[in-house]
Amino acid sequence: MIEIAPIIAVLLPLFGAFLIPIISMVSKRFHVERACSWFAVVILVTTLAVVAAMGAAVWGSGVMVYKLGGWSPPWGIVLAVDGLNLLIALIVAGVSSLVAIYSLVYMRQDTRIDLYSVLLLLVTAGAMGSTLTGDIFNLYVFFEIMSIGSYALVALLVAFRRKWDSVEAGIKYMIIGSLGTSLILLGIALLYGMIGSLTIADLAQKLGQVAASDVLVPLALLITGFGIKIAMIPLHAWAPDAYQAAPSSISALLAGATTTAGLYAMIRVVYMMFGAFGVGTMFAVFGLVTMVVGALMALTQRDLKRLLAYSGISQMGYILFGIGLGTALGVQGGLFHLLNNAIFKALLFMCAGAILYRVGTTNLNELGGLGKNMPITAGLFVIGALAISGVPPLNGFASKWTIYIAGIEAGKAIFSLIAIIMSVLTLAYFLKAINSIFLGQRPKRLQNIKEAPLTMLFPMMLLAVLCIVLGVLPSLGINLVAPAQGALMNQSSYINAVLGGI
């Protein structure tokens, strides 16, 4: 039964998405409220359970391979799950189930919640598919499903609430994003022309025999394409607008799930397929630039969601830096930070959503003194902010510390020093945000603001508990990340498992 788990994890949200219109019609007939939202929650939690069930098999016995239609690679399409994409799939499924629970209340006032649920499930299906597949073109297709879903989700509020900046952000995201995915397609086309195969494992094996100068163009195209998705610095223009204009639940999903899937695609293609550990230094430099520019831009923001967007870009820099070092410790720190980033970034965007839900604005100038009205949200926001700034004993500290040490061990002590300074800057702008939202003078019109509803607080509390648990017991997180790191550093087991017996 467990052999079909990979395909089930993709098909559940995909078919769930197409069932929602029917459920919407039926529930309207029988006047059942919020049936679509609940259905989305059930589907996503089941997906998470399926992914978790794969965990035992993958961690125990290595790579799980599912052949679609029984066609063996390199002719057929395979789904191949090793430690690396299992970790990513866990993050994606976990974040999207929490987002679905959060949206139960957050999107309640909108009448066409069924459209929202369809898109939410489609984005999850795309992210799961591009994570679990072992075929590069299949990865592209699922990546497009995920991207198109997220363009529509970013622009969705224009249809719900006539929020005009969201359609503008949606267009911007869509133009830049589709340019990126076109470049990915061109890269895949060049690879196919060169090698004549689309299975990642097969490509990885055969690319080793091709001269390095020949693979440079497709490699650059793929890095640029995936770099747009994860908002690496010269390619980040869409991110602040999109994160600000999207519903906060979707900002959490974009920050926690789709960028994670994008980063996974980047790692898988660059490191496993091209075996290009040589470009690691470039990643480390890009990561450094990303973290510096992101942190500096975040300092000047006057809107909480824009601030969180820039800080998310900055955190992506840490991950790129850690993974770019290419040492065991660096990769471990980078992947651990990837996990932690999904946790606290989703938590912070959900807090911003809670404030937006109760107050109606996230402009820092108009907020103040909310700590008395929303003590739980305030506490959760502080936990998230301290975790993201790398304050012990929270999870951000454990992963950032690993990255610093890895940087020093790799002989790049200067880089580590800059990373530490950026961490202090992160703390600075988050203290500024905490100060102007929860402390200080409370404007008169904010007197009667109530605490956010419990359904919204529940996923936030869960994430905050994870922040603390992974911070107090970092070995737990390291154990979770170790199989992923092992899979990334040693790709021959993946290749053998996929191409085995040929």
């Binding site: 198109i148 529509a152 267009i171």
Partner: protein, 121 residues
């Protein structure tokens, strides 16, 4: 045959130019479409073979010698499948982009991205 590649690269370059430098949302969407079509032409040219036959096996083709000659004459069917998939994806993108452009035009009365930014502030 090499003409295909030249045209494909021209289409990609033109589309990219149109996407990045035009100040009209509709033209940008057209540019995106042209660029993707260039990539499609490139992909389909990869699998094309001068005087090739369709990669469809019919009765009698798989007898001893016929199989080898079939394999040497048939065009590569995979790029065609890829292009078909990609065309469908492209339709989704163009439809979504145009519907967003309609929203923008209804509200702002213009399709110029910089004009829209100015109107908002």
């Amino acid at each position: 045959m090499s003409l295909n590649y030249v045209v494909a690269m021209l289409l990609i370059a033109l589309g990219l130019y149109c996407l990045l430098l035009k100040r009209n949302l509709i033209k940008m969407v057209i540019g995106l479409g042209v660029m993707t079509d260039g990539i499609h032409l490139f992909l389909i040219s990869l699998g094309y073979r001068e005087g090739g036959i369709a990669a469809i096996v019919t009765g009698g083709m798989l007898q001893d010698n016929a199989a080898a000659s079939f394999a040497s004459a048939a065009v590569d069917p995979i790029p065609q499948a890829l292009v078909l998939t990609s065309i469908v994806i492209n339709i989704c993108i163009v439809a979504l982009a145009l519907s967003m452009a309609i929203w923008v035009y209804h509200h702002y009365g213009t399709l110029d991205p910089s004009e829209i930014r100015r109107l908002r502030e």
